[in-house]
Every structure is written in structure tokens, then in C-alpha cells.
Chain length 232, copies 4
Amino acid sequence: MRGIDASIRIGGGGTQAGAHQLSTEQGVKVIGVASTIDNDLGGSDRTIGFDTACNTALEAMDRLRDTAASYGRIFFVEVMGRDTGIHRHAHGIAAGAEYVMVPERRENVNELVSVLENRSKEKGSCIVVVAEGDEEGGAFKLAAEVGKRCPQFDIRVSVLGHLQRGGSPTMADRLLAARLGAAAVEGLIAGKHNCVVGIVNGAITFTPHAKAIAQKKMIEPDLIRLLAMLAV
Amino acid sequence: MRGIDASIRIGGGGTQAGAHQLSTEQGVKVIGVASTIDNDLGGSDRTIGFDTACNTALEAMDRLRDTAASYGRIFFVEVMGRDTGIHRHAHGIAAGAEYVMVPERRENVNELVSVLENRSKEKGSCIVVVAEGDEEGGAFKLAAEVGKRCPQFDIRVSVLGHLQRGGSPTMADRLLAARLGAAAVEGLIAGKHNCVVGIVNGAITFTPHAKAIAQKKMIEPDLIRLLAMLAV
Amino acid sequence: MRGIDASIRIGGGGTQAGAHQLSTEQGVKVIGVASTIDNDLGGSDRTIGFDTACNTALEAMDRLRDTAASYGRIFFVEVMGRDTGIHRHAHGIAAGAEYVMVPERRENVNELVSVLENRSKEKGSCIVVVAEGDEEGGAFKLAAEVGKRCPQFDIRVSVLGHLQRGGSPTMADRLLAARLGAAAVEGLIAGKHNCVVGIVNGAITFTPHAKAIAQKKMIEPDLIRLLAMLAV
Amino acid sequence: MRGIDASIRIGGGGTQAGAHQLSTEQGVKVIGVASTIDNDLGGSDRTIGFDTACNTALEAMDRLRDTAASYGRIFFVEVMGRDTGIHRHAHGIAAGAEYVMVPERRENVNELVSVLENRSKEKGSCIVVVAEGDEEGGAFKLAAEVGKRCPQFDIRVSVLGHLQRGGSPTMADRLLAARLGAAAVEGLIAGKHNCVVGIVNGAITFTPHAKAIAQKKMIEPDLIRLLAMLAV
């Protein structure tokens, strides 16, 4: 097509879906590089940008903790990463959050209220991590619901949103980008195409586009367990 | 009162109003230390926390610019500091913003739209700084208004809010805190009270509480002029 | 011993050697947690502190690049991590270094000079990463040697040393610490002792103290290859 | 000269001396913009880059304090700013240093040793700020002298050097740069030349090149006094 032998597409699910179409419909040889701060693309344990976005969010949450602790407040913090839950659990543990909303579990508003009532007495301040597009309606709706049940709480909401993006990349993201970039070029030379290059269990892997796009990442179970242990 | 000879009150307008009352109604000798990230208390050119909050906001805006430039977007960024306009102008200049909403000026939505139409063609991305509680209704309302008039724009809103607070203080804030803390103690010893200690034009000053609270800080006019020059 | 049932020792090689002795000589049940910014202890792919120290060093090297590029200088940067070479290669790739001294390879001063002569013409500035205790004698000695051979170079030396330590931990280090801390407690309860708990290929592992201490970490070969590709 | 009507020179003492020569010998209209991280040029209370370099140094010193406190060590930290002493006092106060070497005062090694003996007992760790080119010979020589007298101390040296340069500028530096840049252009248009533009006591000023270069900045006396008060 237009004299293009091959194309390397760097991006997340949307980009790779387009790359897949380009490959199957136009016959262009395409390799995708797994790159999204949401870490919700299959074919790589970590996608480029995830580590940087996590650390940016963590700095923000450390600052929110300063305010929460000073005033005895409860903060609902909305982070990116709707589907996978990886963001919110990683953030929750690293920031010492008292609760992380898990979309798969029902009834968790009741549990949340009960946890907040206990923790806020002991600690004075609490941080609750919510993902954007959470089925309870995001941080504002959830905070309103909790505020209605517990008028004694001094509640604030903070939406990280686009503030998680951009900035100078971390070491881990630079190394990942260097590895995947080199592997994409060498993969094309070696005849691979219509696949996503990533790192799985420490090794470079080439996953067919269709499979990488369809794959749903699961929260690592030990993160859920850890969170419960550490939030006490 | 309760064996208290004197009290040093560190905080902003609310804290100092309370300090004033304590002083006049209870007869306690009180010195206030001008400390608020909003920099909206009289009696000190800069209040403790302002420099740190400004730099935190600046880092966030630098990251938003990365995203805005990548996608050709227009970001409305809501910063703290309702009344003084100092925050928003300082942020606007330092972050290279294309426009800063000035509450005192009417008709500025028209001007804003006209600026955005010109700038977005040249630069691809724009950052508009809005203060919380702005009379046009804050960033979300303003963004909605602009979006209605200019459906071609790809608009995003980011509210810094509590994310401007907390964190490790800057050099300037630590020096200011050291200076004002020492001056408050020495002031009390020297017999001063019912006043706010601050730094005005480089010198330690003691301003009566009533005056410090009532004083309205004006935006430095050269900041408004600079912004217009640099945003071109 | 003194009513102590078990002990958890958090630290690097020295700490774990002491833990091993405590275990074998005093019969105390000990589990070690792999924690050193040098990442030179066996039993865990990454040790606690490594990711934070790497990112701190990276920020410093980004700043040195600003100066190197402004003045057309060659910087020799001495980083921690004498033995493993992991630090220096990771730093080198992430910082876009033009050369990384590899202790295992002889003759590399000649190669270094040749690389610098080529690169400095194209790029104007160069960064050379050296490990402390490097067999060529560290950054100062190496810089002096290169300066003698190439008097035309404007050379500076920067020793990161203790500046790599301390600071707020990254997300990756906080998660690693949470995982290893929980695993150490659960390991003791499950009857494990005289071992180091770490994460190898993504899974919690308990490695006998003697083995973890003796194990020599090798530079991942793809890092050496990547560095050569990217520095061109 | 070569069709150049006027020139704006951004830099410190060396740059401005060259600008002065260009102006007097070649008749070019020159305005200098006071810009050096050393803040040792006259004609402006603060020069562009000083605030950024100070905050970079402060972050480094906060990290060194983490290590010093963990191990009960004494750190000698060498910062930039040979002549003025402003750097070292500002850093010393902001970082909570236990001692700052003052070049003008004799006998201060004796005083230093006496302070360290007292402070290290109470606090366990100490930070001593030394300026590069200090007449006692810099941090390494001073540390060796103290180590000889007090073999019980666990002493480390850290040289910030070029690590203070570069990086993303702070809000204060960006505003200062915006103000001085605009003033330089407007000054030239208004007929001013052979001078340095700066901000003195909050107002834009144009100081003749010869005077700005010759002017020796003095440490603000209250900084010396504050340091003694706070280090207790």
C-alpha cells in the first residue's frame, strides 16, 4: 500500500484494533507495540506508560494524604483504568489506601461504609480509591452516597484523570520502550507481523493482534489479598 | 486565659479572623503567621505554602500540555485562588497558557473563544486557566459554554483542587516559614500582638489583624500585561 | 534466644550474611527480605529500593544531559552497583548514554575513546556511565585517562553516590515491599526459615540464605545488546 | 556591527563582562539579562536559575538526610555558589543543616567540631553545608580534617556540583525569566543599553554593566542569625 512495506503501531487497544484492520484488510505488515497507561491491552504484562502513570498518581495520593491527615478527612480518589482494576489496586496498596472499590463485588458500598467507620476512628483520615467509570458511578456519586449515610464524615473528591498522563517517563518505562522498540524492528525483519510485541514473564513475546485485543487482564489475586491485610 | 500568655496562629484568613477574635474578646496576646496556599491574606507579599502549591500546579500543567499537544486538545484547568487572581496569572505565564480568565473583566468568553480559534490553528493545543469559584461558574461550565460555540474543539477539563496541596515544601516556603516563625517569637517578646507577621518588600512587617484580613490583594498589573505578550 | 521465636531481617548481602549466622549459630528462625538499592543479592529478581534508586539516578542524569548538551560536554557519571552491572546498563539505556563501562570487557578504554570521538562530533555531548569501584578506577581516573588522550574534550565528572539513596519510594518498590513483607510473615508461620524471600519470574520464592548470598547476578544480555543499538 | 542593531545577552558574570566589552569596544547596544544559578551577579536580587538550582539541591539534601538519619552519619555536602554564601545559607536553613561553613569567619573548624560533637549526640545525624572552592578546601578536605579530630564520627561527603544544574524550571524562575525578557526588549526599544536588567525590591531595574559585574552580593544577615537559631 502506497509503497509501505511494514508499519509499527505504538498504542493501546484502539490503536491495535486499527493496526489489525490495516493488516487484514490492506495487507500491510504490521507489528503493534503495547503502549497504554491503562495497562489493559493483552500481549504484555506491562504496557509502556503504565509505570509512569502509576508513579504520577502515587505522588498525587501522597499529597492528598497530607491534607486528609491534617483535617481528618475522607478522600475519594478517582484513578484511570476502568476495566482491569490493576491501577486501583496497585495505587491502593502503594498509597496505603483504606479501601479500594472492586467492580466485580456487589454490596461493597455497605462494606465501604463499615470500613470507613472503623478506620476513620483509628486513623482520623481515609483514602478510598475508585476507578473512573466504576459501576457505582465514579468518585462523585459514590462520595455522595457515603455522605448521605454518614453525615459526620468530612468528605472530599479528587479526580486524577488527565493529570496521570504526560511527564518524564520512569526508568521501567524507558527500558520497556527500548526493549519493545528493538523487538518490533527485529520481529519485522524476522518475518513476524499482525501481532503485538510485549514482555510476558520476562521474555519478549509476539501475540496475534486479535488475541491481544480480546485478552482481559485480571487483577493479580495477591494484590486483593494484600490490600485487605495492609489497610487494617 | 487558662494560663496562656500568648498564642501564635499559623494560617490564612479564617485562622487569622479567629485569632483576632481571641485577641480582642479574650485578651490573649496573639500573633498570626501568614500561611495559606491561596496567598489571599494581607500583611505579607507571599504567604507560606503559596510557592509550593504553585510549583505543584505547574508540574501538573506541564503534564497536561504533553497530552494537549499530542492530541491537539484544549484544556480548561481549574486552579485554586478564587479572589486574588495571582494564582491563575502566575500559573498561566509559567505554564505558557494561551488564556487566563480574569473575573473582573466582562465579555471575556467572547474574547476567549476568539483567542482559542486563532491559537488552536497555530499551536494545535491550548491551555486555559480558570479559578475555582470563577463567576462564569468554574472550568466545567466554561468548557461547556465554549464547546457549545465551537463544536470543532476537542475539549478536556482538569480540576487541580486538593491536588495542589501537601507535598514537600519548596526552598522559598521553608525560608519564609523560618523567617516568619522566628519573627513571630521575637515579636511577642518585643511586646507586639494582635497582628500578622509577614514579609513586605523584603522586610519583616507586623500588620494589625483587622487590616491584614480586610486587605484585598491585587494582581500585579505587569502579570496581566506579560500574559498577553507571551500567549501570542 | 532471649525469648525471640523468629526474626525478619530486611537488607542486602551484609544483613543477610548476619541473618544466616544468627540462624545457624544461635538457632533463631530467620527469614530475610531482599532489600538493597544495589540489587546485588540473589533470591529476588529485584530487591527493594532498586527501582527508587534507579529513578533518582535517572532524574539526575536527565539534568546532566541538559548541561552536557548546552555546553557540548562529555560527562562521566559514576553510579552505584559495583558488581552486577545492572545499574549501569539500566541507567545507560534509560538516560540515552553514549557508553557504559563494562568491567568484564578489557580494552574498553580504547573503544570508549573511539566511540566518544565519533559521537561527540554528531551529538555535541556525551554521557559515559561508570560504576563506583570500577576496575579502571572509577569516574575520576577514567575521565583523566580520556582527557589525556583527547585534550579537545570538555570533560566533567559527576559522582551520584549517596545522592541515589533516600527519597520517597516508587510504586514498584512499595508493591514489592508489601508483597515481600507479607510473604515473610506467612513464610515464618508456614515453618520456613533460614532463607531469603524474594520474587523470581513473578512468583514468591524462598531461597536458602547461603545460596542467595553466594548467587552472582548477571547483566541481562539483551541490555548490553540494546545499549549498543541505541547509543548510535 | 554586521548589521546587528542590538543584542540581548542572557547569563552570569562572564557573559555580562563579554557583553560589556561588546558594548564599549564595538558600539553594539547590549542589554544583559541576569541569569546564573550562582546568583552572584549584581543588578538583580535573584538571577534566573537560582530558585530552580536551590530546589534541586534541597531535594538532594532531603534524601541525604534520610541516609544520615538511618545510619547516624555526618554528611558534608558541597553546594555551588562560592562567593556569595547565599546558596549555602539558604540551603542550610531549608534543609535543616546543623552547620554552614562561612568563609568570612576564621576559626570555624573548631566551632564546627564543637557543634558536631553536641548535635550528633542529640540528633544522631548531622548535615554540614560547604561551598565549592571554600577556603578550607571544599567538602573533602574539611571532612578529612574533622575525621582526624573526631575518629568516632561516621562521615560521608557528597558533592552536588553539576547535579544542581538543568531540569525543569520552577514557577519563580519562569516568572522571573518572563519579566526580565520582556523588560529587556522594552528597555532596548526605550533606548537603554549597556546595562543589566534585573528585579530589585520587586521593581524592574537597569544597572550599568560595570556596576552589576563589580557588585558583591552579601549574605542577608538574618539568614546567618536564623541558621544559628534553627540548628539548635
